[in-house]
Symmetry: C2
Subunit: 404 residues, 2 copies
């Protein structure tokens, strides 16, 4: 008799057959006496089709109208899923973002959920209905439709679970759970039974592509138990929660991220305020800077290297060139042919030698390290992109992650 | 400096090119200093595509969920039209039914507009924006999405024009206006400059297919000036309003309706309550009965003939057979191979001989009349379906309607 929030992504409801598979899954939980709230994304290609329609008309439409357009996608999928559950004889009701009380700020296309007015959902749950809520969308204080941006449906689900004090938030996806590495790169990667919020956050931002970062942040903040599991197979997934066995489990996984590029500025004057100037210029262009390394100053000159998403590289270089006067570097170098490979584990901080072991693995595999960055629960290195997969395998092997 | 409501149907916004044609039309009115509110239907095939998706999943879904599904269609088209106007440099905002305050009753799939809370629209107009409103849809008092049923966007437009006290409500369609007859049947049919609400109502219900009946009823009730005009050509349309020149214009048009079938019950007992019994049985099944004729009783027996939409014939016959005991007729006869041909004109009531002239036209064309019905502003006859078009032509010619 638990309250469960279940989130199904676009590929899980891509066609009528899959919609019924999802409906049957929901039904089985409902029939066990659980209260079930379902968050659903737009069907498979719907969003792309809508984007294409928009592009034919205006290549720079307002974000407000784009949100109006895109939010129709979940409205379609939620109605179809409701119809499937009706067909299976289940009492059900679908609710759009605004009907479900998903209040957000007004940042169209990248809105944040402020609060959820759960009265309507609660009323429908009290009537023993399965409640389907459109993911990814909300309403701002002007009664305008907003969307949460990429991966937003995960966040919708976790925020709903928090607001409803749900016992569990299940994120159904096309993988069986969280692995020690991408199984396409490391065939014997092991599925994790559980993982902590912080570890999951590092893995998500490091390119593990299982959960959207923002959803894990919300889950951590409100202590929501998440489970990542397959919508195609009936098998236990990976639970994301506060885990307290750091002494045993040192490394939880190896991640690779190809959406990364390195920029280096050489011979910058070694005086206060240079780093501030540089990174505030990039921040104004909404460019996310990840790893930052600054060389030790020599002859009143220093080098600054940093990574940005490869998709932001061009904008970053243009911006830097425009501002060369302010920054005062000799040269701007860049390298887009890199991968970031990282190990993540909350136990790392209390286990010295983890980084060294990782570097040893890379040395044994004859892989050169271009950049290093460490935090309390991760170590990241930059390597040549063509060596990225080999690096993941070497590290995974070195830490014996197949036998966790 | 007028306030104009413009309604564009699904074929007018079927693709990007047409969306721009519509956007340019809107822009030209806006740039003349008018306040413009646009009501838009779902794009061309969208509704059919959505119905197909639903049918794959559930052939009898709840009407509530069907409304959720179908209302996404206008949400898509209104966003695309807004993007086109943005591209043309016009300030614009799109509003769904609920954002525009279209309050309806809770009859899903056939809801009626109760009131319109125009504050939001008014606010956007005050900001000099073009306001695009999703047609066909509204919201009930439970905050559930409703749709108005077939032709609902016309009604949305007229109701909005009434609530906003608009100077004009333009209904853009794929014909240039209202004609004295269907130009596909009578090539030299003339376009009417104006027509009264009552005449338009008779023409609409008689199968002229230009405007939806309900929209004309609302226009009449609130005295909204409507104009029917082409979305493809720039030309004056037909204005629907209170017209006061009945002495001059006798006949406004000839209409044909093929969605009609005749049912006759023979030898019913000639006693009170028989007609009541019969038609209340049909009303319970939501069958619209149109023309009703009752023979003069002989030998305590009478015959009752009436017409129903051909699409309701099967249900009507089944219902009558089940209730033969109550009705007590000898036989149920039916004839679906008929057309209803009608002349409409507010001047008819003060011009004797109009009906006779119509019958003369049919006699000269050797067309047999199966049934006759008259009202103050129309005369309808039932003829064999294969003679329907010839009947329209003969009557149109007799009244010299090409030269109005």
């Amino acid at each position: 008799m638990a309250l469960i929030v279940q989130k199904f992504g676009g590929s899980s409801v891509a066609n009528a057959e899959r919609v019924f598979r999802v409906a049957n899954r929901i039904k089985s939980y409902y029939e066990k006496g659980n209260s079930v709230v379902v968050v659903v994304s737009a069907q498979g290609d719907t969003t792309d089709d809508l984007l294409e329609k928009a592009a034919e008309i205006n290549n720079a439409p307002s974000k407000r109208e784009m949100d109006v357009l895109l939010s129709s996608g979940e409205q379609i999928s939620m109605a179809l899923l409701a119809m499937a559950l009706e067909k299976l004889g289940c009492p059900v009701i679908s609710l759009t973002g605004w009907q479900a009380g998903m209040q957000t700020d007004s940042k169209h296309s990248a809105a944040r959920i402020g609060s959820i007015k759960t009265e309507r959902i609660q009323r429908e749950l009290d009537l023993k209905k399965i409640v389907i809520v459109a993911g990814f969308q909300g309403i701002d204080r002007y009664e305008d439709i907003t969307t949460l941006g990429r991966g937003g449906s995960d966040t919708s689900a976790v925020a709903l679970a928090a607001a409803l004090h749900a016992d569990l938030c299940q994120i159904y996806t096309d993988v069986k759970g969280v692995y020690t590495a991408d199984p396409r790169i490391v065939p014997d990667a092991a599925q994790l039974e559980d993982i902590s919020y912080d570890e999951m956050l590092e893995l998500a931002s490091l390119g593990a592509n299982v959960l959207h970062n923002r959803s894990v942040e919300v889950a951590k903040k409100y202590n929501v138990n998440m489970e990542v599991l397959s919508s195609f197979e009936e098998a236990p997934g990976t639970v994301v929660k506060e885990v307290n066995k750091v002494e045993k489990m040192i490394i939880r996984g190896v991640a690779r991220d190809n959406d990364v590029a390195r920029i280096s500025l050489t011979d910058i004057g070694d005086e206060p305020g240079k780093a501030f100037t540089l990174f505030s210029i990039l921040a104004k262009k909404n460019i996310n800077v990840d790893i930052i390394l600054q060389s030790i100053g020599r002859d009143n000159k220093k080098d600054i290297s940093f990574t940005v998403p490869e998709s932001s590289l061009e904008t970053a270089l243009e911006t830097l060139k425009e501002n060369m006067g302010l920054i005062g570097a000799k040269e701007i170098l860049h390298d887009a042919d890199v991968s970031k490979v990282s190990i993540v584990g909350a136990g790392m901080v209390s286990n010295p030698g983890v980084a060294a072991k990782m570097f040893e693995a890379l040395y044994n595999a004859n892989i050169n390290i271009k950049m290093i960055s460490t935090s309390e629960i991760k170590v990241s290195v930059l390597v040549a992109r063509k060596e990225g997969e080999a690096a993941v395998r070497a590290i995974h092997d070195k830490f014996n992650l197949s036998n966790i």
